[in-house]
């Protein structure tokens, strides 16, 4: 019998159903009477809609409903505007379309073919408007305004309460961070470095596209099956749009075929519900691969970074301007910009800072959350420039990082005390893994070489990231009459292994074997509230809530035993799945029988974790815990062609405590591989406002053929005092250092600095040409 042991690899609970092809994902599901929904999308990046006529589409046999702006504007039961931060999105376009692929209308029909046919019969007259296609253009005083005004929600996220759009401009938000005295800081510097780094928009490319089945019952109750990472946020947004209490919205989430941030906040759900309401039947919408590219992307960014340094390598001042292309709708871009701003100093003590981080509207598909959430953007600049500085000072890049890097108890840029900071351990681990040689930086630099034209190099990078705070996770754990457990949580199993870890935590707390534990699927009618499965927060937050719920069961058992057996509560303890009394031990099932007088009954344990801007110990806390990580790459570069090969990649993440070690290594290696794709080839390409590669042939994903021979995932354990068994979140950490680590390795190999992602052979070749000329 496999005990739910913490720190020992446990076979994941979702594996058997997945390897046999039986696991149900949304597109595998059907509901009786279900119609097929299809969406008509804008062909223009920016245009006014002069006229829409759906009458011909309605005549296509099998069509049950056509949804246009007329349906959402003139229905008292619908609030047409929504969005997680600002209410700048509508279910279908109202006055304008703001990006190619913006939903204009939708059809529900008895067959997918009929729906598709009907789309062609919807007549739309557009008046094209000048399109704003990059952040600099967007900031020009003469730029077309993408939103004339933006509606603010009546209540929103506590951490974004003060952030507002800048009226009359395309600036969606401007986050400012000032610390110390920036002018004095630069005056103290011996050297000043100024560089601009850029990175393109990319796409999550989960193999499962967004999908939704919606059913609106007579009386207005809404039932939605959704591919979402945050069912409770979707529930709230749907309740607001369709003007019903949240109790009248039920969101059910099957297994997700990947999320990576691209399935947070409403996506296809509002349009599917509106269609179902109008059709009077359940409707299923499954987005095509192309439509996913129009639905959500990762922010492209331009980052200007100016840093003042002492000759001994001490960082003294930084001025940084970050412009994130948030696309046509704010989505969660304002928080992405804030997180980029907070981490523009990297994991380093820099006393004087002036950081300005903007999310900027453009006529491109909306950008939102992507694994790494603003930090993979800022870290590209921070960690590339660290090596530029190290090279100029003839310092070992590892030493430069360790000299300035955060230690336990240091103050973060928010003036709060950092706890559980395994940064330097992570750096040392990756350096060791790739055979980092510190001595070579002291002499003149001799690059490793395999032949005359092939050079080898090594590079590293590190990072700090925060998790969303404040936030809420609630859990219910039920002890059944046979001493088995049922766990009710809103954490979405999207591949990260959360079901297994939650079972381990409850099982370890109560001494109950894994095989007797069931984690229920997510259904907002059944499971208690959880804010979101994102921000690498579930193990820490939901794990803690599950632990507290298990402890609540222990508390109840103690009360029962004290009452039924006359033993004082302080003499009762728990070990090996039994209730220990001074003279004897009781099985849980015995206690249950005693309590209920027959085989039956349930004990319900309740666990709630609410994080706030003060932690459990009363300290200021803008992040419930801190992610620290480092990565190191070894590359081989052909100096004649610029072609390069990643030979080895090492990733070390401070996981707090590895609850399920194989699961942790999967997260580390997996995030690193996503990082490799972003570093070396992923890029959404545009021609004007048109995406020219919204498919998986032209938008290239990393495959086995692109993998280095070795990826070394290393778990560093610096226990967090607030986490369950010391654990922290780890989902995003390993991705963030990858691109700068590779760029730094390429510099080490051939002495050229790539500042523009992705790092392509052509760019290296051109840089080599320039260097040699």
């Amino acid at each position: 019998m496999e005990l739910a042991e913490i720190g020992k690899t446990v076979r994941r609970l979702d594996y058997e159903t997945k390897v046999t092809g039986k696991a149900q994902y949304l597109a595998d599901m059907k509901v009786p009477g279900m119609c097929h929904g299809q969406i008509l999308r804008s062909p223009y990046p920016h245009a006014r809609i002069k006229r829409i006529d759906a009458s011909k589409a309605l005549k296509v046999p099998g069509v049950m409903a056509v949804l246009t702006r007329d349906d959402i504007l003139h229905d008292e039961g619908i609030e047409p505007y929504y969005g997680p931060v600002f209410k700048d999105q509508t279910i279908v376009a109202v006055d304008k379309v703001r990006h190619v692929g913006d939903p204009v209308a939708a059809v529900a029909a008895l067959t997918a073919d009929a729906a598709e046919q009907a789309l062609a019969f919807i007549e739309v007259d557009y008046e094209e408007l000048p399109a704003v296609l990059d952040v600099h253009e967007a900031l020009s005083p003469t730029a077309a305004l993408i939103h004339d005004s933006v509606k603010l929600p009546s209540s929103g996220f506590a951490d974004l309460a003060e952030i507002k759009p800048v009226e009359g401009t395309n600036i969606c938000t401007h986050f400012k961070l000032n610390r110390g005295d920036i002018e004095k800081g630069f005056a103290e510097a011996d050297q000043v470095f100024e560089d601009t780094f850029t990175l393109p928009a990319t796409q999550h490319s989960f193999l499962e596209t967004h999908a939704c089945i919606a059913s609106v019952e007579p009386g207005g109750r809404i039932i939605v099956w959704a591919t979402t990472q945050n069912p409770f946020v979707v529930r709230t947004q749907l309740a607001n749009i369709f003007k019903v209490p949240v109790s009248k919205v039920r969101v059910i989430v099957p297994y997700l075929g990947g999320g990576y941030g691209g399935k947070v906040y409403p996506k296809v759900e509002p349009i599917t519900v509106a269609l179902a309401q109008k059709a009077g039947r359940p409707v299923r919408v499954v987005l095509s691969r192309e439509e996913v590219f129009y639905t959500i992307t990762k922010h492209a960014a331009v980052i200007r970074m100016k840093t003042g340094v002492k000759n001994d390598g001490t960082l003294v001042a930084r001025e940084c301007e970050i412009h994130l292309d948030t696309g046509a709708y704010a989505e969660i871009g304002p928080r992405v910009a804030k997180k980029s701003g907070y981490t523009a100093a990297g994991p380093y003590r820099i006393p004087n800072l002036k950081i300005d981080s903007y999310s900027v509207y453009t006529n491109k598909p909306p950008a939102g959350a992507f694994r790494g959430f603003g930090v993979s953007q800022s870290a590209w600049a921070v960690e590339s420039q660290m090596d530029i500085i190290a090279a100029a000072l003839k310092m070992d890049p590892l030493e430069l990082r360790k000299k300035n890097g955060y230690d336990e108890g240091d103050k973060f840029v928010t003036d709060e005390t950092l706890r559980a900071v395994g940064l330097k351990e992570c750096l040392d681990e990756v350096a060791k893994s790739i055979g980092w040689d510190s001595s070579k930086f002291k002499s003149s630099r001799v690059q490793g070489s395999r032949s005359d034209s092939i050079r080898r190099g090594k590079g590293l990078a590190c990072m700090i990231k925060a998790t969303i705070t404040p936030s809420i996770s609630c859990a219910v754990v039920k002890l059944n009459e046979d001493a088995s457990l049922s766990i009710y949580i809103g954490t979405v199993e999207m591949g990260q292994g959360s079901d297994t870890v939650m079972a381990q935590i409850a099982g370890a707390e109560l001494g109950i074997p894994i095989r007797k534990i069931q984690v229920l699927g997510v259904d907002t009618d059944v499971v208690p509230y959880d804010l979101t499965t994102s921000s690498s927060r579930s193990t820490f937050h939901m794990g803690k809530a599950v632990q507290l719920a298990a402890q609540d069961i222990q508390r109840q058992i103690k009360q029962i035993v004290a009452k039924e057996y006359g033993v004082p509560e302080d003499k009762i303890s728990f070990a090996d799945g039994k209730v220990r009394l001074p003279e004897t031990a009781l099985e849980y099932a015995e206690v249950m029988f005693k309590r209920f007088g027959m085989q039956g009954g349930t004990l319900v344990g309740d666990g709630q974790l609410k994080t706030s801007t003060k932690d459990e110990f009363g300290e200021k806390s803008t992040s419930a815990f801190w992610f620290l990580a480092a990565g190191a790459a070894e590359v081989e570069v052909d100096t004649e062609t610029g072609k390069f090969k990643l030979l080895k990649y090492a990733t070390a993440v401070d996981v707090g405590k590895a609850l399920n070690p194989l699961g942790c290594r999967q997260q580390l290696a997996g995030a690193a591989i996503t990082g490799i794709g972003q570093a070396i080839f992923e890029e959404i390409a545009y021609d004007g406002g048109q995406l020219i590669n919204p498919n998986l042939v032209d938008y290239v994903l990393p495959s086995l053929g692109d993998m280095p021979a070795v990826i070394d995932p290393i778990c560093v354990e610096t226990p967090d005092r607030n986490g369950p068994f010391g654990a922290k979140g780890i989902g995003e950490s390993a991705l963030i250092p990858v691109a700068p680590a590779i760029a730094n390795a390429i510099y080490d190999a051939v002495g050229v600095r790539i500042k523009d992602l992705p790092i392509k052979a052509e760019k290296i070749f051109l840089a080599l040409e320039q260097k040699n000329s």
Binding site: G21, L207, S288, G497, G670, P702, S703, G705
Partner: protein, 154 residues
């Protein structure tokens, strides 16, 4: 819509199916046979999530017509395990943690099966080449290599 009847063997069971001439193999197994282990990922034959075995060879079912498998033997992931025993590849994938979200898994396992049937002791490079047409966006490539190597060593 033109309809036709095809005869084929799916997971060892003889079937006569009436299909529309333009139905894809993937739609046929998913919608008509209820075998949903194979997934639609890219819809253009590059991601491997829809992989099925036809005559023992891996095909992208999203881009193959059902009419073209008339008379063939088709194996889906559901046909790989017997009631109480899993295929060694299924066991190895679980042991080495060769999956996370699971969406690509049936495609990887079937492609790996075709490789091992063709070449029981593949080199590391052969495994990489053969499986390079399947994407795992969660990034389990290293674990997938380990799992396939484990089975090929047996």
């Amino acid at each position: 819509m033109k309809r036709r009847t095809i005869s084929l063997k799916v997971n060892g069971i003889e079937q006569n199916l009436e299909i529309e001439a333009r139905t894809t193999l993937l739609d046929m197994v998913r919608d008509q046979l209820g075998l949903t282990g194979a997934k639609l990922g890219c819809d253009i034959q590059v991601c491997g999530a829809c992989t099925l075995l036809v005559g023992g060879k891996p095909v992208s079912a999203c881009s193959m017509l059902a009419a073209d498998v008339d008379g063939c033997e088709v194996v889906t992931i559901e046909g790989l395990s017997e009631k109480n025993s899993l295929h060694p590849l299924q066991e190895a994938f679980m042991q080495f943690g060769a999956l996370q979200c699971g969406y690509c898994t049936s495609g990887f396992i079937l492609t790996a099966k075709a490789l091992l049937d063709e070449c029981p002791r593949p080199s590391e490079q052969q495994i990489r080449d053969y499986l390079a047409g399947n994407f795992c966006r969660c990034g389990c490539y290293q674990e997938i290599m380990q799992a396939v190597k484990e089975v090929s060593g047996k």
